[in-house]
Symmetry: D2
Subunit: 346 residues, 4 copies
């Protein structure tokens, strides 16, 4: 089969590799399409969990085309019939580290990731343990391809656990911000505002049901903070999420958070970034600052939200590339201001 | 002013009483309309917190028409300007009992209730502490009159704290069931089903956005349970709520609850009722059974949900009576199968 | 090796069976001693997860004596060195059922249990996945043998999540009640009372640090309830746990629970038992009823509690039998009123 | 009566003022002794909620000596009989601001504080609403004087909600650190370490039951962090609390926190202080940063913990001054390295 293969940072080729065979307990999926996201840019640079030779691609939707031993007999497991449309959860825990033994799989010391340290979905086929393969039959493939990002957002909702009746502000209107805003909307937040600097992304957010939007001015973050505080009625938002990955934005979360509220680092900043926080303010106003990292068991919640319309996706996929154009796909993600969600079709 | 006044159980008259003056810290409200609910039937019978002479009516919407000393200067408190449309939170805690001192006001040993042990809203005017008066400016009065029931439902959502991605089943499609189902829909439940025996109430539920409905057969509860389990996919619902007040229904909550899920006694059964519960089932499947009683600090969440459309109310008010017809209003509530929400206009 | 082997309900023999070899990822443990508990009586009768031929024994402490492939290389995993004293977590989840995929392993549809559907510890050796083997180096073997029951109690504490400053009542002073009472004592409950009908068990509870005890009269449960309510100051206990397994006791939990509090079915009643619950009381006083079943990831918490002295065990083991006397061990558990914890030494 | 009276920042005198009379709902307390704490130093400088003329003193223990109207009849309220030993909760909420109406009294916009914006306990008498007066009959006055600091710590435990089996590190061994460490010990933390630069305070912590201590070197915080990480086994502590109020310490909380854990700003830093936080680290390791401010409804939990011995206080009071020596008391607190808890006796 053909696949995007990295031999090292920034060095990849689209080439022929052996089509993988599913081993015991595994399922093979013929890839329909795979989403590209910021993590793929990081992996391109050799950061994160990159392990070579590497086939990236962790937002996979496809059709089951072969089953490993012991799989077809597993009862009660959806999504293992040959021919079924499925989404693949890339993440799995080791089961034996100190965190796994405490039942906290997402904190696992030795996470495996399809598309980072295991072969991923920018390829014609991918194999995965049956437990990581979920039926998305009945969903449109442009919805289904967003299952993994929606799962991350569903996990963030678990982390945030918004008080019923909260107000929420999501900064960043990429696919991630738009998905998370919708989930917050359906998870107890009574008013969800999305702020970002690009109008068409905010229009998409509005079309998909968020309550309010605010157009930021990249040159005047302080002005944005003032305007957003004013719009909140002066006291800030119960939940404030960075979904940009920009440290300058992460730093303004605390001042935008209402007393007793929660600021969330959801965007992925650089490891070297530092933000200044006032411990007095956190103490005096009893604020909470939290991080939400990926997900490990949120596919069921994400798929349920997509099926019920709590999360809508119409119009989010704006760019589609063939496997051979993987470089162009990365480039679109990096610098095409008209791109929202970019996907690759093998 | 004119008011419904009880001198004892089942003995009331609509008569002239002195118009109340707001004392320090109080607000007087000219009543626009007041909802009638099952509690009023209980009070009619002399149960609950009835204290004579009693003016019932705890679901009040009205217009502020006088302020007691010290009220207009209170900063940051919405809803105290003369002329403002307001809803009145009937419940207040004593502040000094053991529960109040632990910060658990709703468990207060000495709750006061406007419309039960304090004069209520089936009258031309009602007085209330400013802290219990909330602006509902901009809401339709037929929405605003549902603020108190929505607040009870908002509190129930806090009690239930549905896991994100849960399925929920609400049994009972009175105003209460329909409001709670909508709030669960917007609080993390990915699919909400409402079950009840009257088709038009289910149609209203559907119109207001619940995901699914099931028409019960009052003569075959066992059959309903089987059918509802089948619809759940066999393993039940993560959250199952009784919103009927019928003990026979309360008894089937546990078998309808999915492993790890929560059964909620929200309907008000008789004090003498007992339901049979299997402690083994609760243990083996790690179920939770909970009660949710009224509310004390959920008006802000309820009003926010109404403003944002998380809770919709169009068409819920089906019957409207004048003060002089209070007896007819009770009668409609008791036995008119075409009644959904009944309100009284003074 | 020699082992207790059941061929069917009530039909067992102590006989020679092949010593198991650890397969990949497994560890073999030479059993030092294994606790006997009520579950073993249930298994004896053929109930629960019994699967024949069955070697029971799920409270195992022993010494690692062989490692399967791939085990010794696993980094950061305690308890896999040959010669190390270890306790074995009997329970594991399937990883693929609907509950496992939601990250709720304990609700797994297909739990495996060492000592029920996998060969257990009433034998000279037992094998277990490395992930289920925990170092208890430094603990006394009469403490270490209580790791599994302490883990169940640790899970119950997670389920109960006592409000800080709560009062707690544990009914039943078997090993289970005494362990759970100590954990509640160290988990936010400001006063823990243990009630049971046998004085020496209460004296043990006192010696191990519970705050208060109450000697029950098996012939007058109603009198006990009155006396216990009086001792609570009249309003009951914030947390009330059944650790007897008797349905008559389970039924009095709710009346003993303080408003806003939690009643816990921790004892294992018969599947057929039903208790009468007042839905009005649960609603009006906002009670919670919960079940706590076994554990799956609580060994680390249990071992930590034993190491720090939060849980003490001195004097709990009162009876010790050889493997050949397994029948006597069961008999002691069943009817010797002087027995507290019974263990079997192979 | 005599009282410490401030007319402005740093300007106080001990002088005769009218003995206050309790108004309706109030209780007058003859002060036995009042604790001095860092907040009194801040008030001395005119910061915090200082309002002149000001009588400071918010850690009051005394004897009820007069009751206002309506108090003696209040049923079920402990601590209102004349002659009873009581502690006084200084804090009360307004009841009408947006936070109060949401039931979040501690976030109140208009908190009143006895000893800051209301006359406090560095005086012969103090008046307080009955709801703020708690019986401490039976406790030693040197224990009872620590009720308010213990209540703050009890609130912090509610904020932290330690996972059962957690490890905890408290930095700072002033009275506050020592009290909080004990409460964490009794609230699910399986091992609690206290770190501070002064040996005798650590010895006191050990004597009062904390699991481990670490002697810091004020000149080498980086070295302390390394040593503390090593002692944790390398991965840090599940809960890390600053109880020093030093921003340099607050900044090292995050690196000392184990993945999935919680860093707590409990010490009161300067408003101008900023600490550098890595948003990537918070995101990747799913950390939580929280603040805990004072308390409003934690007196019952604190008193219960003191009564049951969960919190012990023997030896904490090291310095005692008369009212006339208030300046010396402040000075001891500020710079006497042998002082642990300082109290003032009128
Ligand atoms: N925690 C998790 O589990 C998780 C999961 C998925 C993604 N993420 C992270 O979430 C972030 C967003 O992902 P995405 O796929 O939605 O990215 P994206 O498509 O690049 O969108 C980023 C959004 O942030 C805005 N933005 C970027 N820098 C900004 C700045 N300095 N000021 C104001 N706005 C700024 C962008 O503005 P424009 O509108 O002008 O483009 C855009 O709206 C990334 O860091 C990603 O790695 C985290
Ligand atoms: N916990 C709280 O805070 C709170 C707050 C408000 C109300 N409540 C309680 O909630 C309950 C519902 O209130 P509501 O105002 O919505 O009442 P309602 O208008 O009388 O509606 C009751 C619903 O339950 C159905 N029902 C009644 N008995 C039934 C039975 N035996 N089998 C099946 N369905 C049955 C009714 O069927 P039909 O469709 O055929 O009429 C109707 O759909 C009452 O008990 C009320 O007191 C509790
Ligand atoms: N949920 C879980 O994860 C879990 C884990 C372990 C055990 N368990 C269950 O917990 C229960 C206790 O276990 P155990 O090993 O401690 O049992 P045990 O040694 O038999 O102790 C039972 C205790 O309950 C008392 N008791 C029994 N029936 C009573 C009655 N009718 N009235 C009053 N007291 C009564 C006993 O009284 P005497 O003092 O007179 O003997 C004894 O104190 C069992 O049902 C067991 O299966 C549950
Ligand atoms: N959040 C709340 O509700 C609340 C309640 C009460 C108090 N507080 C705050 O908690 C903090 C502690 O109160 P306290 O009464 O216990 O104060 P304290 O008696 O002054 O004790 C402070 C402790 O921190 C240590 N310390 C101070 N600066 C340090 C530094 N730079 N490096 C290392 N250790 C340092 C001190 O060291 P030595 O051992 O050398 O003296 C001492 O052990 C204060 O900021 C106070 O305002 C907060
Ligand atoms: Zn792991
Ligand atoms: Zn009260
Ligand atoms: Zn499973
Ligand atoms: Zn307030």
């Amino acid at each position: 089969m053909r696949a995007v293969v990295y031999d090292g940072p920034r060095s990849f080729a689209v080439r022929e590799v052996p089509t993988p065979e599913p081993t015991a307990g595994q399922v093979r999926v013929r890839v329909v399409q795979t989403g590209v996201c910021g993590t793929d840019l990081h992996l391109h640079e050799g950061r994160f969990m990159a392990a070579y030779p590497m086939v990236p691609g962790h937002e996979v939707v496809g059709v089951v085309d072969a089953l490993g031993d012991g799989v077809d007999g597993v009862e009660g497991v959806a999504g293992v019939a040959v021919g079924e449309l499925v989404a693949v959860n890339p993440n799995a825990a080791c089961g034996t580290c100190e965190y796994c033994r405490e039942g906290r799989a997402l904190l696992c010391d030795a996470l495996t990731g399809i598309g980072s340290n295991l072969p991923g979905g920018f390829a014609e086929h991918v194999v995965a343990p049956a437990a990581q393969v979920f039926s998305v039959e009945g969903l449109d493939v442009d919805t289904a391809v967003l299952t993994e990002p929606t799962s991350c957002a569903a996990h963030a909702v678990d982390v945030i656990a918004p008080r019923h009746g909260s107000t929420a502000l999501v900064i960043g209107a990429g696919p991630t911000g738009v998905l998370l805003a919708q989930l917050l909307r359906g998870s107890g937040a009574s008013k969800v505002t999305v702020a970002a600097p690009t109008a068409f992304k905010l229009e998409r957010a509005t079309a998909l049901g968020v309550d309010a939007t605010y157009l930021m001015d990249r040159g005047d973050l302080a002005g944005d903070v003032q305007a957003l505080l004013r719009r909140s009625g002066g006291s800030g938002y119960d939940v404030v999420v960075d979904a940009t990955g920009a440290a300058v934005v992460a730093e303004v979360l605390v001042p935008l958070t209402r007393s007793g509220g929660t600021a969330v680092f959801y965007g992925v900043t650089d490891e070297e970034d530092r933000v200044a926080v006032s411990p007095y303010d956190v103490f005096r106003r009893e604020l909470t600052i939290k991080g939400s990292f990926a997900e490990i068991s949120s596919f069921p919640a994400a798929i349920a939200a997509m099926r019920s319309g709590r999360v809508r996706t119409d119009g989010l996929v704006t760019h589609r590339f063939g496997l051979d154009d993987y470089g162009l796909a990365l480039e679109a993600l990096r610098s095409d201001r008209t791109a929202h969600k970019v996907v690759v079709v093998p």
